[in-house]
Amino acid sequence: MAMIIDRRLDGRNKSAVNRQRLMRRYKQQIKKSVSDAINKRSITDTQSGEKINIPARDVKEPIIHHGRGGIHEHVHPGNKQFSQGDRVKRPEQSGQGGGGSQASNSGEGEDDFGFEISKDEYLDLLFEELALPNLVKTKVVAQSAKTLVRAGFSNTGVASNLNLLRTMRRAKGRKIAIASPYSKRCRELEQLLEQELERKPHNEEKIKSLREELALLRARIETIPFIDTYDLKFNQFIPQPKPITQAVMFCIMDVSGSMSQATKDIAKRFFILLYLFLSRSYERTDVVFIRHHTSAKEVDEEEFFYSRETGGTIVSSALKLMRDIVRDRYPTEDWNIYAAQASDGDNWEDDSATCRDLMIDSIMPYLQYYAYVEIHNQEHQGLWREYEKVGALFETFSMKQIRDTGEIYPVFHELFKRQEA
């Protein structure tokens, strides 16, 4: 008689540990293809990209078998026109058709090994060694927003916080406790009284005294107060710092004539990375796009990336606009503010000093982080030098130069490298 066993409820993921081993072993390759993907793929793809395929040719497990060459003889089915002694042309690719030497070497397929990782796995890999700058500090120290949370009960408080249930429960308990010697005596007296009443003839004297004593005790029990200050219980609330779970990211880009589409593309990718990064760390991330030439304007994403303007460059116009927007819409007690600025380094010569002052006086003090990337491969100009002064004053300010697309990720990595606490 056969045993029939239902194994369906047993663990389903017997291979999960083996999958982890696979990921662990090929981490370098997987990470590389992840960063390759970021460099190559278009931006919209990155944002919606949940799964990517990772070809990994190294995953093969080599075994020794016969190689090509020499004499191979193989039997195949389905002969149609051949007869013994015929000569036929060697097929282009062996495996199919006559004479394939690979046909029977099963398990040695020539396919690329690709496999999918989920979006989470993908982003984890992407941001693995990164952490938001000063995130820890923000959470614990720089919190000004507070919220009240329930924290048990207290004996004092305002009337509106009175906890009725607890209060009444205590009152009842107190009454029972205080009354208990009287109640006990009452029960004894009642018993005696009953005995006396049953006895014939009645001892009127005794009954009377018993009844008097009983009445006295009952009156005493009655006088125990219904509620006492001692009974009162209040709900307690204590203030607790509220983590700010929202961030706003300012994207500032120079769209003047000197910025080519290629430069903008590089900037675009940098912003995308930053956005992905922030949206993973905060419940809510707002993005404000500011573009500028000689004057700055807040625009939507589409316009930010794709419309063209020409003209000179005054960076301070964008910084002023950003300062105003922060003041009006993003109070620092509610928002973590990040900003990333991309430029080709051009600026109206007199303006750079203004920028520096603006940054030092009215922007940097409110920001979590300000990243400045300069995309070009020439000499640094005035703006870079002025910004260097800002960087000397604020740890939260950092600047880097990007030369071509392949450098974005390393630079991003560098900018946001996990800062040791």
Binding site: I5, D6, R8, R21, G69, G97
Partner: protein
């Protein structure tokens, strides 16, 4: 089998009539545990009482499709140690399954006692019946009866051994780190095909004893190795003797075995891991040699048993149609020029051959009488049973492939000589070609022909400990490019220089692979 009852009211079709005492087991496609039990009882009765199959007790396990993928990923081992390659296998399986490319995920059966057969919960009742007949009685009786399995595998102990292996590997990971263990396993896997004894089973080694004697063995082995490599304080006469002594005394084809016993630098646990891989390779070795027979046998029996059930009225027309549909898919053989062609389908060849043997026994033609005088007009059941017990693919095809089948498959053989511009058709399905085709097909299933003949030849134990392997070339076939990779694994296990010497058919030798690569290129010129 049963005479029609001819009950009034029964419809015209004789076969759907319910014979006395038998009724259709189910009409719905859904299965239930009760139904599986009923089907299994009937199948068991037919297999054992009607056809006298000798089987291990059966254990049927219902699993989900994910669990089936798990089972696939661990190459059919119900309990496997952890290794990334199984993860890779799982990812591939999962991908194929999700794309709907994989259609044969019906059954997995374990050569153990009791014989464990997995039934997938997605299967219909008819499919479950097919799988039970195919795996739980077909493969099962093959495992129990075939001589290779009897010699090389130990159905009683395999599960225990796999548990031991899993725990041992896990223990080593804990003690020595995942990375260390993974490296050893990688190297062993690369040489797995060269980790089997082909011709004899070492006496006194049963899988059952493994866990018990394992710790003793560590000591003994290390001692043995120490002896072998003792170099200091050797007396003069001993030294002379040492010089003449060869390691190995005779060429050793079981490379993993050789390394386990002789590699100088391995730690005891590493030797034990080599042993684990070697044991598992050995356990699967008979399966690799009997694919056509094993699948053919199982297909033959699911076909025969389900038809018998139908004849008895246990299953109805719609179940039979569903069964025939699946069965036809399983045994289909695309032609060589079809895009679906990927070699000869062992299910197709095996099934057709089994059916053909039965036909020759029962109803031989003139041709059959000439080719198979010894089996024509014999009891087909006994003849098949004999074939199942005493052959492997190579000899089975050599013995039983009939001209009729060669014609049916339109088999032809192609000679690919790299010195020629074109391919030659060396034999086809005609009078002069039958024997040649049969011979060549048989050779194709000869594992020692299919796999390179590579043996441990010598160790320079007085010098720099170079390990020399010899590849005996056959038909001018070189070793594959992957050899470059594998020799690195050999080097890792051996710990010193490793080289492969190719012995050409005319007797000339040349060192074709080395690890590590010589610093100066001059050295490669031999």
């Amino acid at each position: 089998m049963n005479t029609p009852s001819g009950k009034p009211g029964a419809d015209g079709n004789r076969r759907t009539d319910t014979p006395p005492g038998r009724r259709v087991l189910s009409t719905e496609s859904d299965w239930t545990f009760d139904l599986i039990e009923e089907y299994n009882q009937e199948i068991e009765r037919i297999a054992k009482e009607v056809y006298h199959l000798d089987c291990y007790p059966v254990q049927l396990e219902l699993i989900s499709s994910e669990q089936m993928m798990d089972a696939y990923a661990s190459v059919g081992m119900p309990i496997g140690y952890n290794h990334w390659s199984f993860g890779k296998q799982f990812v591939i399986t999962e991908k194929n399954y999700k794309r709907g490319q994989m259609n044969l995920a019906y059954e997995i059966v374990i050569n153990s006692n009791p014989c464990i057969a997995y039934l997938m919960e997605e299967n219909t009742m008819t499919m479950q019946a097919l799988v039970i007949a195919h795996a739980a009685y077909g493969h099962n009786s093959f495992f129990k009866g075939n001589y290779l399995f009897k010699i090389w595998t130990d159905a009683e102990a395999i599960i225990d051994y796999l548990i031991f292996a899993k725990n041992y590997v896990a223990e080593c990971e804990e003690k020595y780190g995942i990375q260390e263990v993974e490296e050893i396993l990688d190297s062993c896997h690369a040489l797995m095909n060269f980790g089997v004894d082909r011709y004899k089973r070492r006496a006194g080694e049963t899988l059952e004893d493994e866990p018990r004697v394992q710790s003793d063995r560590e000591l003994i082995l290390q001692h043995h190795v120490n002896e072998l490599w003792r170099q200091l304080n050797i007396n003069e006469p001993e030294k002379k003797e040492n010089q003449t002594k060869r390691i190995p005394p005779e060429p050793q084809e079981n490379i993993l075995y050789f390394l386990e016993k002789n590699a100088p630098l391995l730690k005891p646990w590493q030797r034990e891991i080599i042993r684990v891989v070697r044991k598992i390779a050995q356990y699967f070795y008979p399966q690799r040699q009997t694919q056509v027979m094993n699948e053919g046998w199982a297909c033959f029996w699911h076909y025969t048993i389900l038809n018998h059930m139908y004849d008895e009225g246990l299953i109805n027309d719609s179940a039979m149609l569903e069964f025939m549909h699946t069965h036809t898919n399983v045994i289909s053989q695309p032609d060589f020029d079809s895009p679906y062609y990927s070699g000869i389908n062992p299910y197709a060849l095996g099934f057709k051959m089994m059916m053909d043997i039965r036909r020759i026994c029962e109803d031989p033609t003139e041709e059959d009488l000439q080719w198979f005088p010894d089996i024509a007009h014999t009891n087909w059941r006994e003849t098949l049973d004999f074939a199942m017990r005493n052959f492997k693919d190579e000899s089975f095809i050599g013995q039983y492939l009939s001209p009729r089948l060669i014609r049916e498959f339109r088999l032809f053989s192609v000679l690919d000589d790299d010195r020629e511009e074109t391919l030659g058709i060396s034999a086809i399905h005609d009078e002069v070609g039958y024997r040649a085709v049969r011979e060549k097909l048989s050779a194709q299933y000869n594992l020692s022909h299919r796999e390179p003949n590579l043996q441990v030849f010598n160790v320079d134990h007085q010098g720099d400990r170079t390990l020399t392997l010899r590849y005996y070339q056959d038909k001018n076939r070189p070793l594959s490019d992957t050899t470059e990779e594998v020799i690195k694994h050999l080097h890792r296990l051996w710990g010193f220089k490793v080289e492969i010497e190719t012995v050409e058919e005319d007797g000339g030798t040349e060192i074709t692979h080395r690890c590590p690569k010589p610093v100066s290129e001059e050295l490669t010129i031999n």
